[in-house]
Amino acid sequence: MANRVLIPTPLRPYTGQREAVEADGRTVGEVLRNLTTRYADLQRHLYADNGNLRSFVNIYVNDEDIRYLSREDTALRDGDVISIVPSVAGGSGAATTVESAELTNEEVQRYSRHLIMPEVGVEGQKKLKAARVLCIGAGGLGSPAALYLAAAGVGTLGIVDFDAVDASNLQRQILHGTPDVGRSKLQSARDRVTALNPNVRVETFETALTSKNALDLFRDFDVIVDGTDNFATRYLVNDACVILGKPNAYGSIFRFEGQASVFATKGGPCYRCLYPEPPPPGLVPSCAEGGVLGVLPGVIGTIQATEAIKLILGAGEPLIGRLLLYDALRMRFRELKLRRDADCPVCGDHPTVRELIDYDQFCGIAKPAEARVAAAPETESEATVEELKASLDHGEPLLLIDVREPQEWQICRIPGAKLIPLGQVPAHIEELRAESAERPIVVHCKSGVRSDRAVKLLQQAGIMNARNLKGGILAWIDRIDRSLPKY
C-alpha cells in the first residue's frame, strides 16, 4: 500500500526537491524505513545515532501527531497522508548556564546510576540540575514527589504550603516525621529534602495559592507538580499553567484510587478538557472525610515526579493526552485517552478565560462573608456542642443521629447517638418523621458538612425540628470530651 509523505523544505534537497513522495508500508515505521532506504541522506537528519526519531522531528498521520497514536507502530490506511513537520529548537546555553550546571565529583558519584543510562547521562543530569520544579502542597502527593525530585538531583525545588504538620498526616505524608507534629510543613519539608540531598536549593512559599499570587509564583519554574487536595486550587493550578504555558504534572487520590496525567503542554489537553465543570460542593468527599490509603499517594506522587523528570530530560513518552487510573484494591492500572477540547474555555482555540478567576466561586464555595449572610436565617437549625452537652446532661428528650460511616463510628462516638450513615438517611425518613414528633433531632458527623446535608434532606421532607451539630464530633472532642481519639 502506497502512502503520500509530505517533505518539509529543509529535507527537499534529499528528495529531488519533491514536496511529496510515495512510500509503501503498513505502519508509519515501515513507511519511514522505506523512505530512508530510497533517500539515504534523510536517515541522519530524521534519526539519532541510537536509532530513535530525533526529538525535533514530528510525524503526523493526517492531522494527528503519532506521539498521540501508536508512534512508529501506528497502522496506516489507504489514503493516509504522512507529514514530516520540523520543530526548530536551539538557544544559547553552552556558554554560561551549562557551565554553571557542571557536575561536581560528589554529584557524579551520587547520580552515577543516572549517568550510566543513555536516556539521562551527564547531559540529562545537568538538565535536572538546571531545572526548577514547583510542588503545590507538601502533603500526601507533594511528599513523595518532592523527595524523589530532590533525590534525582533537580536543582531547585519550590514548595508551596501553609499548613502545620498534624498527627493524622503521618500515615502518608512522608516528608514529615513524628517530632514534626505542630511544626510548619515547609520547615520539616526543607529539613527532610536538605538531609536527603544538600545540593538541592529549596525555595519555600508559606502561603495559600490564590488567583493573585499564582502567576508570579509559577513564572520562574519549569514544571508544576499539582499536589492539591481540593477542586478550587486544582482549577487554579490548571488555568495558571495554561496561561503561562507551564506543564502540569497532575495527580489526585481518593480512598483506594488515584489518577495522574500531564496537562497544559502545547497542543495537549488541560484539566478542564477532562473536567469542564467542578462537581457540586460536598458531592465528592475530601480525603479528610472519605479517607485515603496511606501508600496510595506514594504511588501517584511518584508517577508525578517521574513525569516531571521525563519532561525535563525530554525522554520517553510523556503522560500527555492520557489519563492514568490506578485502583490499589484491585491492583490495576488503566489508561484513558484524552484530547484537547477545541472549545475548552482555557486552552481551546478561542479561550474565554484569559486570566485567573475566583475559583471558590467557580466551584460553588461561598466566601466566609457570604456564607454568614446565607446561614444567618438558619442558625435555628444549628446546635453547638455545648448546647448538646447541656441537653444530654439535663436528660432532655432528644434524638442524636450520627451520619458518619460505620468505620468512623468504630473509632469514636458521642454516647447516646444512633448511627444512620448519610447514604441511608433517605431510607429512614419515615421512621425519623415519627421520631421527630416525639422529640427534637440533632444530627452530627465528623466536622459538620455531611450532617448539614442530612439536616437539609430532613427539612425537605418536612421535618423541621432537626438541627446540625456545628463542628461535628471533632468540636465535641475539642470542647467537651478530650478523652476521645481524634481522627
Partner: protein, 143 residues
C-alpha cells in the same frame, strides 16, 4: 573564509528581528525567515514555546512551523530559515543549536547585550551535522 551561505536580507526584516529580540529580552525570541527572489524579505515573529528556561532556549513548535509555511505561501515566498536571539551571549551557534539543527536552513542569530540588540550572524548546518558554517549576511534597503 568558510563556504556557508551568502544571504541577502531586507533591512526591514533585520529591524524586525532586532525589535523582536529586544522585546523578548531576557528571553530568547524566535521567528521564521521568508525569501523571495533570493532575498529574505520578511522576518515572521513566532512564539517561543520552549518548556525549558526561555532565557537560554527556544522552540518553534510544529504548529508554529506550519503557520510559518502557510504565511510563506500566502506571501508567495519560501520558508528558508529561522532566526533566534542569544540574550547576553555571543551571536554564535551553541552545541544545543547544533544538536537540534535542520539542514538546508538559514539560521540567523542576534546577540542581545543587556537588552540592546548587537551582532547579527548567519549560519548553515554542514551536511554531516558536525558543525555550522558561517555565511555572509548582506543588508539591502528596499528600493
Amino acid at each position: 573564509m568558510t563556504v556557508g551561505c551568502a544571504t541577502v536580507i531586507e533591512e526591514e526584516a533585520v529591524d524586525e528581528i532586532r525589535r523582536h529580540a529586544a522585546e523578548a529580552y531576557p528571553h530568547e525570541c524566535c521567528g521564521a525567515l521568508l525569501e523571495r527572489d533570493d532575498v529574505i524579505v520578511e522576518a515572521v515573529p513566532l512564539s517561543n514555546t520552549t518548556i525549558e528556561e526561555a532565557t537560554r532556549r527556544f522552540l518553534v513548535s510544529p504548529d508554529e512551523y506550519r503557520y510559518a509555511e502557510k504565511r510563506a505561501r500566502e506571501r508567495d515566498a519560501r520558508l528558508v530559515g529561522f532566526y533566534h536571539s542569544h540574550p547576553d551571549h555571543p551571536a554564535r551557534p551553541s552545541q544545543h543549536d547544533l544538536d537540534h539543527a535542520w539542514p538546508n536552513l538559514t539560521y540567523v542569530i542576534v546577540s542581545v547585550a543587556a537588552g540592546t540588540p548587537a551582532d547579527i550572524t548567519c549560519w548553515r548546518l554542514r551536511e554531516d551535522r558536525t558543525a555550522f558554517d558561517r555565511g555572509d549576511l548582506t543588508w539591502r534597503t528596499e528600493s
